[in-house]
């Protein structure tokens, strides 16, 4: 099978049952994405596929051979952090850190959804979204933090969202 992950090409011979998450972690050495529940309930495995956030544990690798896959390893480097990575460090948006790669990938996808004008369950008006804390909590509900670092996660995301709005305004 052939895959494009973080702009790099990979060839892999894997069992047909292999999830996209296990492909990355167990076969390609990309261990940044984490396995929490392995059933789509915790969000630790969140990746971006063709720019959209999904649960990598709940999809088969074989179904993604023609896709552009982005994991936490592709978002930034130690020297050049992605703005969300920097904001998570600044606001201490974690304790143990296990959910963090999924939180950050999810937030990247989520902010793109907001930019496209997608409403959420928290939107009073589906055609005019006011992006506030309740929107962040609702839109990030697929990412569980067992350490309950939620206030700081929300703060980090809010700061990056505000910066993005200034740039586009």
């Amino acid at each position: 099978m052939h895959f494009t992950i973080n702009g790099n090409s990979y060839e892999a011979e894997v069992d047909i049952r292999t999830s996209l998450l296990d492909l990355c972690r167990e076969h390609l050495g990309l261990t940044g994405s984490k396995k929490g529940c392995d059933h789509g309930q915790c969000g630790a495995c969140t990746m971006l596929v063709n720019g959209r956030r999904i649960n990598a544990c709940l999809t088969l690798a074989v179904m993604h051979q023609d896709d552009e896959i982005m994991t936490i390893e592709g978002l930034g480097t130690v020297e050049n952090l992605h703005p969300l990575q920097a904001a998570f460090v600044k606001h201490d948006g974690y304790q143990c850190g296990y959910c963090t790669p999924g939180q950050i990938c999810s937030a990247v996808g989520m902010l793109d959804e907001v930019k496209k004008g997608w409403p959420s369950h928290a939107s009073a008006d589906l055609t005019d979204v006011t992006f506030d804390e309740s929107e962040i909590s609702e839109r990030m509900s697929g990412n569980i933090c067992r350490c309950a670092a939620y206030p700081n996660i929300v703060e980090a995301i809010r700061e990056v969202a505000a910066e993005q709005r200034e740039v586009t305004a």
Binding site: H39, G40, N55, L58, P119, H121, T127, G142
Partner: protein, 321 residues
């Protein structure tokens, strides 16, 4: 997970001939395969087929491709404008990640979240016909109070199908012989009876290709969902409501319910109790009486009877104010 053959047909015609279990988003099927609740011998990957468009029809309705993801359907400006109840129902379900993957066709076929269905050590007539129902007499907080049988008290877990039931959607399919069918959603789902493992009228190999939404109904629309936490949880009770009021009387009403039955639940008697009446407590209580006629709790889900009444009345009050 048990192993399987994998095929990726290039067209609908090839897919319905492929002979296997269809997979698109996979968010429900792979979950169940990991637990060996589902053990398909062959997966037919339809995720690349050309069924991901939303098209306007001349009658004012929309035709939704079976592969349109839940996220895209919820955010489509035409859906938001004409079918707010559907957008709201979709947004009330699952998480952002899951909605990006889950499809329109797959969501119609989502399987129950009954604890005993998921537990392969437990008796479950839906998973293994003839093995009993441990939800009856067991933990049944999330289970049905309407349309149950002594074989199964599972609920359909979806939100989107509840809205589609209120909107009288039509499910378009293609069979192995190439024949197409248009199945009104009212005729699509089955009650458990003594065959709870058969959940709908699809035949083996029959593929959902589209869902047709009729021209938008008159009136105000909403979807109200009550659950154990504020987000990312299945409905205990939900209601999809479309209500029109003219000259101080309820002119039309479409009400479908989630969390109460083996299928999105709609009872014409509930709507008949409202149409022609002035909005108010008397009419709303009569509608709730009609809804709960024949309802039965199984112990830990007894609370759903008063909860369904209150959710219905609150929703009617909001929409007719």
């Amino acid at each position: 997970m048990k192993t399987f053959d994998y095929a990726r047909p290039g067209s609908v015609a090839e897919a319905v001939q492929a002979g296997g279990r269809f997979i698109a988003g996979g968010t429900n099927l792979l979950d169940l395969m990991k637990l060996q609740v589902e053990t398909p011998e062959r997966l037919v990957d339809i995720s690349r087929l050309d069924l991901d468009q939303i098209e306007e029809r001349e009658d004012g309705g929309l035709t939704v491709g079976a592969l349109v993801p839940n996220s895209d359907l919820a955010a489509d400006p035409r859906v938001i404008e004409k079918y707010e109840v559907l957008s709201r129902a979709l947004l009330a379900g699952a998480s952002g990640q899951l909605r990006n993957k889950a499809t329109t066709g797959g969501n119609l076929l989502q399987r129950t979240r009954c604890y005993y269905f998921y537990d392969t050590a437990a008796g479950c007539n839906k998973r293994e016909p003839g093995s009993g129902c441990e939800a009856i007499g067991g933990f049944n907080r999330i289970h049905a109070i309407l349309g149950t049988s002594d074989q199964c008290i599972a609920t359909h877990p979806g939100d989107m199908p509840v809205a589609m039931r209120a909107l009288d959607a039509v499910i378009v399919t293609q069979r192995g012989d190439g024949d197409k069918r248009r199945i009104p959603i009212a005729d699509f789902y089955r009650l458990p009876g003594d065959t709870p493992h058969i959940e709908n009228v699809l035949e083996p190999g029959e593929l959902i290709t589209h869902v047709e939404l009729p021209a938008p109904p008159e009136g105000k629309q909403t979807y109200r969902k009550v659950r154990d936490r504020a987000s990312y949880a299945f409905a205990l009770v939900s209601v999809a409501a479309v209500i029109a009021v003219e000259d101080g009387r309820i002119a039309s009403a479409a009400l479908a319910f989630g969390g109460l039955a083996h299928m999105p639940w709609r009872n014409p008697a509930v709507e008949a109790a409202l149409v022609g009446q002035a909005p108010g407590t008397a009419a709303f209580e009569a509608a709730a009486d009609a809804l709960l006629d024949g309802a039965k709790g199984f112990g830990t889900n007894d609370f759903k009877l008063p909860l369904a009444r209150r959710v219905l009345i609150a929703t009617l009050r909001d929409l007719t104010q």
